[in-house]
């Protein structure tokens, strides 16, 4: 192997490979556990990394003996509604703070960021009171409205950074051409910010998808649970872990997020780096 290739192998491909193994192993573990029978799973004499006899029993348990599909639907519903609400609010907030330099706009930006720093463990009690008074207890809308409390600050900050990378002259030029603020916002800012909006959206979607604490507190009936809460509350009974269906649920619960990421990975990277390349 020539010197240059060897160097590239050790400095690039080998670390990449190790990183991939580290990253993908949990998925493999979920996959392997899903397709093993209970007998094989608890037999310590067998190699735990291999599947000796394939079994669909865990999938059957997950899909037919729990309300997994319903939970999946609930999670989608909550993730999508809260993402849409958060993005709409954040786009306007971020644009306002970043570009309409009104008095106290900086302070407002910082204030919004501080909201993000308050942990849900402190917030869920007062929020519970509010949800109760709004008669949204045990309703998916409770989550759709609560998630934006941490999604909006996050998305706003991400979008503020992104808007900042769009040259101000573009807007000024449009203004002289006779465009109104809203027109500029729709026709110039939004199209140019698509990478930023997509990455904020992916973040929001993932955070809502994985959220646990609020979903656990505000939802009690089995039909309205999300995947993260449903799996843990209904497949861990007392101190009995139904590892097979649990892992199957984890696997199928993480697939949508993985798909979302892989479809938009380019936009996502551009959104994070905030670069508007000409």
């Amino acid at each position: 192997m020539p010197q240059k290739q060897r160097e590239k192998f050790f400095r690039f491909y080998l670390p990449l490979f190790l990183f991939l193994v580290f990253l993908l192993f949990p998925f493999y573990w979920m996959f392997a556990t899903t397709f093993k029978s209970d007998v094989e799973l608890y037999n310590l004499k067998l190699n735990p990394f291999l599947i000796h006899t394939w079994s669909l029993a865990n999938l059957k348990h997950l899909f037919f003996e729990t309300r997994f599909l319903r939970w999946l639907y609930n999670t989608f519903f909550v993730a999508i509604t809260s993402t849409v609400i958060s993005l709409s609010a954040s786009l306007l907030a971020a644009y306002g703070i970043q570009r309409i330099r009104f008095k106290g706009s900086n302070l407002m930006g910082i204030g919004i960021f501080f909201c993000y720093l308050v942990p849900p463990t402190i917030l869920f009690i007062p929020l519970a009171t509010m949800i109760f008074k709004l008669h949204l207890w045990d309703s998916l809308w409770a989550l759709s409205l609560i998630y934006p409390t941490f999604l909006i600050p996050f998305c706003t900050w991400l979008l503020m950074g992104y808007f900042n990378s769009i040259p101000k002259e573009l807007e000024e030029c449009a203004m002289m051409d006779g465009a109104s603020r809203m027109w500029i916002f729709w026709r110039v800012i939004i199209p140019l910010s698509l990478p930023g909006i997509l990455s904020a959206g992916i973040f929001a979607f993932t955070l809502s998808w994985n959220e646990y604490l609020y979903a656990l507190t505000f939802i009690s009936s089995s039909l309205k649970k999300t995947v993260s809460v449903g799996l843990v509350t209904e497949l861990v009974r007392g101190d009995v872990y139904h590892w097979g269906p649990l892992m199957a649920g984890a696997l199928f619960g993480s697939v949508p997020v993985a798909l979302v990421y892989s479809f938009f990975v380019e936009y996502y990277v551009a959104g994070i780096t905030g670069a508007l390349k000409e």
Partner: protein, 364 residues
């Protein structure tokens, strides 16, 4: 075409004065250049004319209409920005048609105007491309086209050529000038490059620290700068300044004297300089007003020691030392001047500049 009038215009950012008491009349069809070092307020002034910046004090008129509180879109102006400000997600055609569409100009009229302008600028072949597929020069043309196609009353240029490489800049400078002669619309052009200012402007405004230093035609400013700043800013290479030069009267004649240098004052400057007899002033002499001579007794001749020789082709720049001071002379390329030798130089006396040592104002 339009006349732009600024009356005592001022701009403050908090406590910082960006533009102070700026008064100027820009005539119909004039190409006016604002020039000055960065932070001198030239761009701020332009932006106030555009309506992108509020005015703290004073008044701005475009064609007798006071526009202090008129939003940019209603001022009938177009601006070309340094970074072109082309919409990256739109094609060249869409970029150029943007303003016309907003004005609800009929589609075939837009097509015609964009086509004509693109042909004039030589960008007809790029109409379908996105800005990122164009070179810097082509982008700049599109930006110009976008301004021209709207046929506004006034064009504003904010350092439009600074992002181009040197060669292209010279070419675009020429094209812009031709374009202005063809279209004839009142134009205001901001630059920090004094060569751009000299070559393009019908008139130039030299600014410093938010204040107008001098307004005039390029050569007028070059020949008769009103103060030391303008004298140093306009002209390339820059003027030599010799501080602590004594003015002495000998009979009818005046001399300016410093170590190694004794220059008679030209007749037309004598009267103005006479009150300074016995005092110290600052002497300014442009490198191109120093030439090599063979006659040591010629008026204005002096000996200098050559330190560095820089031939540039049509001229030779010679760094010389006279009485402990460094001077730059721009002499004929035929000269056989060598480093570490004495050279006999002669100053063109009628072109000497004198500045008050305290106020730095020009004398005479």
């Amino acid at each position: 075409m339009a006349e732009v009038v600024l009356k005592n215009v001022g701009k403050k950012f908090g406590d910082v004065v960006a533009v102070d008491d700026f008064s100027l009349t820009i005539r119909h069809g004039e190409f006016m250049v604002f020039v000055g070092p960065s932070g001198c307020g030239k761009t701020t002034t332009l932006r106030m004319i555009a309506g992108l910046e509020d005015i703290t004090s004073g008044e701005i008129f475009i064609d007798d209409r006071k526009v202090n509180h008129v939003p940019p879109k209603d001022r009938d102006i177009a601006m070309v920005f340094q970074n072109y400000a082309l919409y990256p997600h739109m094609s060249v055609y869409q970029n150029m048609a943007f303003g016309l569409k907003l004005k609800k100009v009929p589609k075939d009229e837009i097509d015609r105007r964009v086509g004509e302008t693109a042909a004039m600028l030589g960008i007809l072949d790029f109409l379908k491309r996105k800005p990122k597929e164009l070179s810097g020069g082509q982008r700049q043309r599109v930006a110009l086209g976008r301004a021209i196609v709207r046929t506004p009353k006034v064009y504003l240029f904010d350092e439009p050529l600074s992002n181009l490489d040197a060669k292209l800049r010279v070419q675009m400078r020429l094209e812009l000038k031709k374009l202005h002669e063809q279209i004839g619309t009142t134009s205001i052009y901001v630059t920090h490059d004094q060569i751009e200012a000299m070559t393009m402007g019908d008139r130039i405004v030299v600014m410093k620290d938010g204040r107008v230093q001098q307004v005039g035609e390029p050569l007028e400013i070059y020949m008769h700068p009103v103060n030391r700043f303008v004298a140093g800013f306009i002209g390339s290479p820059t003027m030599n300044f010799i501080e602590g030069v004594r003015v002495e009267k000998e009979g009818e004649d005046l001399f300016v004297i410093t170590e190694g240098l004794r220059l008679p004052v030209a007749a037309e400057k004598r009267e103005a300089l006479a009150p300074y007899a016995g005092r110290e002033i600052t002497l300014g002499v442009r490198p191109e007003d120093l030439s090599e001579t063979e006659f040591p007794d010629a008026p204005g001749a002096f000996t200098a020691f050559v330190e560095v020789v820089q031939p540039v082709g049509n001229q030779i720049y010679v760094d010389v030392r006279v009485g402990g001071r460094d001077l730059l002379a721009s002499i004929s390329p035929q000269s056989r001047v060598k480093t570490k030798q004495d050279i006999l130089l002669k100053a063109r006396l009628e072109n000497l500049h004198f500045f008050d040592a305290d106020t730095e104002e020009a004398i005479g």
